[in-house]
Protein backbone atom coordinates (compact mmCIF):
# COMPACT_ATOMS: atom_id res chain seq x y z
CA UNK A 1 0.00 0.00 0.00
CA UNK A 2 1.43 3.40 -1.02
CA UNK A 3 1.89 6.16 1.54
CA UNK A 4 -0.88 8.10 -0.16
CA UNK A 5 -3.32 5.20 0.02
CA UNK A 6 -2.36 4.58 3.65
CA UNK A 7 -3.00 8.24 4.48
CA UNK A 8 -6.43 8.09 2.86
CA UNK A 9 -7.26 4.87 4.72
CA UNK A 10 -6.22 6.49 8.00
CA UNK A 11 -8.51 9.44 7.25
CA UNK A 12 -11.37 7.02 6.54
CA UNK A 13 -10.67 5.31 9.87
CA UNK A 14 -10.70 8.66 11.67
CA UNK A 15 -13.95 9.81 10.07
CA UNK A 16 -15.49 6.35 10.52
CA UNK A 17 -14.71 6.38 14.23
CA UNK A 18 -16.30 9.82 14.62
CA UNK A 19 -19.44 8.38 13.02
CA UNK A 20 -19.35 5.22 15.18
CA UNK A 21 -18.98 7.28 18.34
CA UNK A 22 -21.60 9.90 17.47
CA UNK A 23 -24.07 7.24 16.30
CA UNK A 24 -24.24 5.53 19.67
CA UNK A 25 -24.18 8.89 21.48
CA UNK A 26 -27.19 10.00 19.44
CA UNK A 27 -28.98 6.71 20.14
CA UNK A 28 -29.35 7.91 23.74
CA UNK A 29 -29.43 11.68 22.99
CA UNK A 30 -32.09 11.79 20.30
CA UNK A 31 -32.58 15.56 20.22
CA UNK A 32 -28.99 16.88 20.42
CA UNK A 33 -29.04 19.08 17.32
CA UNK A 34 -25.34 19.97 17.48
CA UNK A 35 -24.41 16.28 17.49
CA UNK A 36 -26.81 15.55 14.62
CA UNK A 37 -25.26 18.40 12.64
CA UNK A 38 -21.76 17.05 13.29
CA UNK A 39 -22.83 13.52 12.38
CA UNK A 40 -24.36 14.68 9.11
CA UNK A 41 -21.34 16.78 8.16
CA UNK A 42 -18.95 13.92 8.98
CA UNK A 43 -21.14 11.46 7.06
CA UNK A 44 -20.89 13.69 3.98
CA UNK A 45 -17.12 13.87 4.35
CA UNK A 46 -16.90 10.08 4.80
CA UNK A 47 -19.07 9.47 1.75
CA UNK A 48 -16.88 11.70 -0.43
CA UNK A 49 -13.64 10.13 0.85
CA UNK A 50 -15.10 6.63 0.43
CA UNK A 51 -15.97 7.32 -3.20
CA UNK A 52 -12.56 8.86 -3.88
CA UNK A 53 -10.74 5.92 -2.29
CA UNK A 54 -12.83 3.26 -4.03
CA UNK A 55 -12.36 4.81 -7.47
CA UNK A 56 -8.64 5.46 -7.03
CA UNK A 57 -7.63 2.16 -5.40
CA UNK A 58 -10.11 -0.65 -4.90
CA UNK A 59 -13.67 -1.10 -3.65
CA UNK A 60 -14.00 -0.28 0.04
CA UNK A 61 -17.50 -1.69 0.41
CA UNK A 62 -19.14 -4.80 -1.00
CA UNK A 63 -21.52 -2.76 -3.11
CA UNK A 64 -18.88 -0.52 -4.69
CA UNK A 65 -18.46 -1.07 -8.44
CA UNK A 66 -15.42 -2.85 -9.84
CA UNK A 67 -13.05 -0.34 -11.41
CA UNK A 68 -12.01 -2.88 -14.03
CA UNK A 69 -14.44 -4.58 -16.39
CA UNK A 70 -12.01 -7.43 -17.01
CA UNK A 71 -10.97 -8.21 -13.47
CA UNK A 72 -13.19 -8.40 -10.37
CA UNK A 73 -11.60 -5.83 -8.05
CA UNK A 74 -13.29 -7.02 -4.86
CA UNK A 75 -11.85 -10.52 -5.31
CA UNK A 76 -8.34 -9.35 -6.14
CA UNK A 77 -7.75 -6.54 -3.61
CA UNK A 78 -6.29 -6.93 -0.11
CA UNK A 79 -8.31 -7.55 3.02
CA UNK A 80 -7.54 -5.14 5.86
CA UNK A 81 -5.32 -7.53 7.84
CA UNK A 82 -2.92 -7.54 4.88
CA UNK A 83 -2.68 -3.76 4.40
Amino acid sequence: MSDEQAAMMLRLQQLGLVLDDLRIYLDTHLTDSAAIERFNATAEEYKAMHEQYSKKYSPLRQDDPSNSENKWDWGTSDFPWDF
Partner: protein
Protein backbone atom coordinates in the same frame (compact mmCIF):
# COMPACT_ATOMS: atom_id res chain seq x y z
CA UNK B 1 -28.49 -6.84 6.78
CA UNK B 2 -24.87 -5.93 7.23
CA UNK B 3 -22.40 -4.41 4.79
CA UNK B 4 -18.68 -5.16 4.96
CA UNK B 5 -15.93 -2.60 4.46
CA UNK B 6 -12.30 -3.53 3.79
CA UNK B 7 -11.17 -1.34 6.64
CA UNK B 8 -10.28 -2.00 10.27
CA UNK B 9 -12.08 0.31 12.69
CA UNK B 10 -8.70 1.18 14.21
CA UNK B 11 -5.27 0.75 12.57
CA UNK B 12 -3.29 -2.26 13.80
CA UNK B 13 0.46 -1.82 13.73
CA UNK B 14 2.29 -5.02 14.60
CA UNK B 15 5.81 -5.91 13.45
CA UNK B 16 5.25 -9.23 11.70
CA UNK B 17 8.98 -9.91 11.91
CA UNK B 18 8.54 -10.27 15.66
CA UNK B 19 6.07 -13.15 16.00
CA UNK B 20 4.81 -13.77 19.52
CA UNK B 21 2.67 -16.93 19.97
CA UNK B 22 2.54 -16.44 23.73
CA UNK B 23 0.89 -13.03 23.38
CA UNK B 24 -1.38 -14.40 20.62
CA UNK B 25 -2.54 -17.13 22.99
CA UNK B 26 -3.39 -14.51 25.62
CA UNK B 27 -5.12 -12.14 23.18
CA UNK B 28 -7.31 -14.92 21.76
CA UNK B 29 -9.40 -14.69 24.93
CA UNK B 30 -10.80 -11.39 23.68
CA UNK B 31 -11.73 -13.25 20.46
CA UNK B 32 -13.48 -16.35 21.85
CA UNK B 33 -13.31 -16.03 25.62
CA UNK B 34 -16.09 -15.31 28.17
CA UNK B 35 -15.77 -11.52 27.99
CA UNK B 36 -14.48 -11.36 24.44
CA UNK B 37 -15.75 -9.53 21.38
CA UNK B 38 -17.67 -12.48 19.89
CA UNK B 39 -19.64 -12.84 23.12
CA UNK B 40 -20.23 -9.08 23.21
CA UNK B 41 -21.46 -8.85 19.66
CA UNK B 42 -23.72 -11.91 19.77
CA UNK B 43 -25.16 -10.90 23.16
CA UNK B 44 -26.24 -7.42 22.04
CA UNK B 45 -27.42 -8.43 18.58
CA UNK B 46 -29.73 -11.15 19.87
CA UNK B 47 -31.27 -8.78 22.43
CA UNK B 48 -32.52 -6.51 19.62
CA UNK B 49 -35.91 -8.11 19.08
CA UNK B 50 -36.98 -7.78 22.70
CA UNK B 51 -35.65 -4.29 23.45
CA UNK B 52 -38.67 -2.11 24.25
CA UNK B 53 -38.03 1.10 22.28
CA UNK B 54 -36.63 2.16 18.91
CA UNK B 55 -33.61 3.80 20.46
CA UNK B 56 -32.72 0.89 22.76
CA UNK B 57 -32.95 -1.33 19.67
CA UNK B 58 -30.58 1.10 17.96
CA UNK B 59 -28.15 0.99 20.91
CA UNK B 60 -27.82 -2.82 20.86
CA UNK B 61 -27.70 -2.92 17.05
CA UNK B 62 -24.98 -0.29 16.78
CA UNK B 63 -22.84 -1.49 19.69
CA UNK B 64 -23.28 -5.13 18.58
CA UNK B 65 -22.10 -4.13 15.12
CA UNK B 66 -19.10 -2.23 16.48
CA UNK B 67 -18.12 -5.32 18.49
CA UNK B 68 -17.83 -7.22 15.17
CA UNK B 69 -15.27 -4.62 14.11
CA UNK B 70 -13.45 -5.20 17.41
CA UNK B 71 -13.51 -8.96 16.78
CA UNK B 72 -11.77 -8.25 13.48
CA UNK B 73 -9.11 -6.13 15.22
CA UNK B 74 -8.35 -8.91 17.73
CA UNK B 75 -8.28 -11.48 14.91
CA UNK B 76 -5.83 -9.29 13.01
CA UNK B 77 -3.57 -8.95 16.06
CA UNK B 78 -3.52 -12.74 16.54
CA UNK B 79 -2.95 -13.35 12.82
CA UNK B 80 -0.04 -10.91 12.67
CA UNK B 81 1.61 -12.29 15.82
CA UNK B 82 1.29 -15.89 14.51
CA UNK B 83 1.94 -15.51 10.77
CA UNK B 84 5.74 -15.86 10.91
CA UNK B 85 6.00 -17.88 14.13
CA UNK B 86 8.39 -20.83 13.89
CA UNK B 87 7.78 -24.33 15.20
CA UNK B 88 10.27 -23.66 18.00
CA UNK B 89 8.48 -20.45 19.04
CA UNK B 90 5.09 -22.19 19.00
CA UNK B 91 6.38 -25.05 21.16
CA UNK B 92 8.21 -22.71 23.55
CA UNK B 93 5.07 -20.58 24.02
CA UNK B 94 2.87 -23.59 24.71
CA UNK B 95 0.54 -22.54 21.89
CA UNK B 96 -1.24 -25.91 21.94
CA UNK B 97 -4.26 -24.63 20.00
CA UNK B 98 -1.93 -25.31 17.06
CA UNK B 99 -2.83 -29.01 17.35
CA UNK B 100 -6.49 -28.44 16.46
CA UNK B 101 -6.36 -25.17 14.58
CA UNK B 102 -2.86 -24.56 13.23
CA UNK B 103 -2.48 -20.81 12.83
CA UNK B 104 -6.22 -20.32 12.27
CA UNK B 105 -7.83 -17.72 14.52
CA UNK B 106 -10.36 -19.72 16.54
CA UNK B 107 -13.02 -19.02 19.17
CA UNK B 108 -11.28 -20.15 22.33
CA UNK B 109 -10.19 -18.49 25.55
CA UNK B 110 -6.61 -18.14 26.79
CA UNK B 111 -6.53 -21.68 28.16
CA UNK B 112 -8.25 -23.27 25.16
CA UNK B 113 -11.90 -23.55 26.22
CA UNK B 114 -14.20 -23.25 23.20
CA UNK B 115 -16.68 -20.37 23.02
CA UNK B 116 -20.14 -21.15 24.35
CA UNK B 117 -23.49 -19.36 24.32
CA UNK B 118 -23.50 -19.95 28.09
CA UNK B 119 -21.25 -16.84 28.27
CA UNK B 120 -24.12 -14.58 27.23
CA UNK B 121 -27.73 -13.90 28.05
CA UNK B 122 -30.94 -12.45 26.65
CA UNK B 123 -33.85 -12.36 29.13
CA UNK B 124 -36.70 -10.62 27.29
CA UNK B 125 -36.43 -8.04 30.06
CA UNK B 126 -34.67 -4.75 29.23
CA UNK B 127 -33.63 -4.02 32.83
CA UNK B 128 -31.96 -7.44 33.11
CA UNK B 129 -30.44 -7.23 29.61
CA UNK B 130 -29.04 -3.69 29.92
CA UNK B 131 -27.65 -4.48 33.37
CA UNK B 132 -26.02 -7.61 31.90
CA UNK B 133 -24.60 -5.49 29.07
CA UNK B 134 -23.11 -2.95 31.47
CA UNK B 135 -21.46 -5.73 33.48
CA UNK B 136 -20.15 -7.27 30.24
CA UNK B 137 -18.47 -3.99 29.26
CA UNK B 138 -16.78 -3.73 32.65
CA UNK B 139 -15.56 -7.33 32.45
CA UNK B 140 -14.15 -6.69 28.99
CA UNK B 141 -12.45 -3.51 30.24
CA UNK B 142 -10.86 -5.45 33.11
CA UNK B 143 -9.67 -8.12 30.66
CA UNK B 144 -8.04 -5.45 28.50
CA UNK B 145 -6.33 -4.13 31.64
CA UNK B 146 -4.97 -7.61 32.33
CA UNK B 147 -3.77 -7.97 28.74
CA UNK B 148 -2.09 -4.55 28.92
CA UNK B 149 -0.28 -5.74 32.06
CA UNK B 150 1.05 -8.70 30.07
CA UNK B 151 2.28 -7.00 26.89
CA UNK B 152 5.21 -4.77 26.11
CA UNK B 153 4.53 -4.76 22.36
CA UNK B 154 3.77 -1.08 21.62
CA UNK B 155 1.55 -1.81 18.58
CA UNK B 156 -0.53 -4.36 20.45
CA UNK B 157 -0.80 -2.09 23.50
CA UNK B 158 -2.02 0.80 21.32
CA UNK B 159 -4.85 -1.31 19.87
CA UNK B 160 -5.74 -2.69 23.31
CA UNK B 161 -5.96 0.82 24.78
CA UNK B 162 -8.35 1.81 21.98
CA UNK B 163 -10.53 -1.25 22.60
CA UNK B 164 -10.52 -0.62 26.37
CA UNK B 165 -11.68 2.95 25.77
CA UNK B 166 -14.57 1.75 23.62
CA UNK B 167 -15.73 -0.56 26.44
CA UNK B 168 -15.97 2.49 28.70
CA UNK B 169 -18.00 4.40 26.10
CA UNK B 170 -20.33 1.43 25.58
CA UNK B 171 -20.82 1.10 29.35
CA UNK B 172 -21.86 4.74 29.42
CA UNK B 173 -24.38 4.29 26.57
CA UNK B 174 -25.92 1.16 28.10
CA UNK B 175 -26.23 3.04 31.38
CA UNK B 176 -28.05 5.90 29.66
CA UNK B 177 -30.35 3.42 27.90
CA UNK B 178 -31.09 1.74 31.25
CA UNK B 179 -32.00 5.06 32.88
CA UNK B 180 -34.28 5.92 29.97
CA UNK B 181 -36.05 2.55 30.17
CA UNK B 182 -36.51 3.00 33.93
CA UNK B 183 -37.86 6.54 33.45
CA UNK B 184 -40.26 5.23 30.84
CA UNK B 185 -41.55 2.65 33.30
CA UNK B 186 -41.90 5.31 35.99
CA UNK B 187 -43.99 7.50 33.65
CA UNK B 188 -46.37 4.63 33.12
CA UNK B 189 -46.53 4.12 36.90
CA UNK B 190 -45.28 0.57 36.57
CA UNK B 191 -43.21 -0.32 39.59
CA UNK B 192 -43.09 -4.05 39.04
CA UNK B 193 -39.85 -5.95 38.70
CA UNK B 194 -41.69 -8.00 36.10
CA UNK B 195 -40.63 -5.35 33.63
CA UNK B 196 -41.33 -7.15 30.38
CA UNK B 197 -45.07 -6.99 31.00
CA UNK B 198 -45.09 -3.21 30.89
CA UNK B 199 -46.68 -1.81 27.76
CA UNK B 200 -44.90 0.94 25.90
Amino acid sequence: MWVYEKKLQYPVKVDMNKPNPRLAKQLISQYGGPDGELAASLRYLTQRWTMPTKNTQAVVTDIGTEEMAHLEIIGTLVYKLMKNATKEQIVAAGYDAFVDHGKAVFYVDAVGNPWTAAYIQAKDDPIADLTEDMAAEQKARATYNHLLDLTDDPGVADALRFLREREIVHFQRFGEALVQVQENYACKKVFSSNAQNAQY
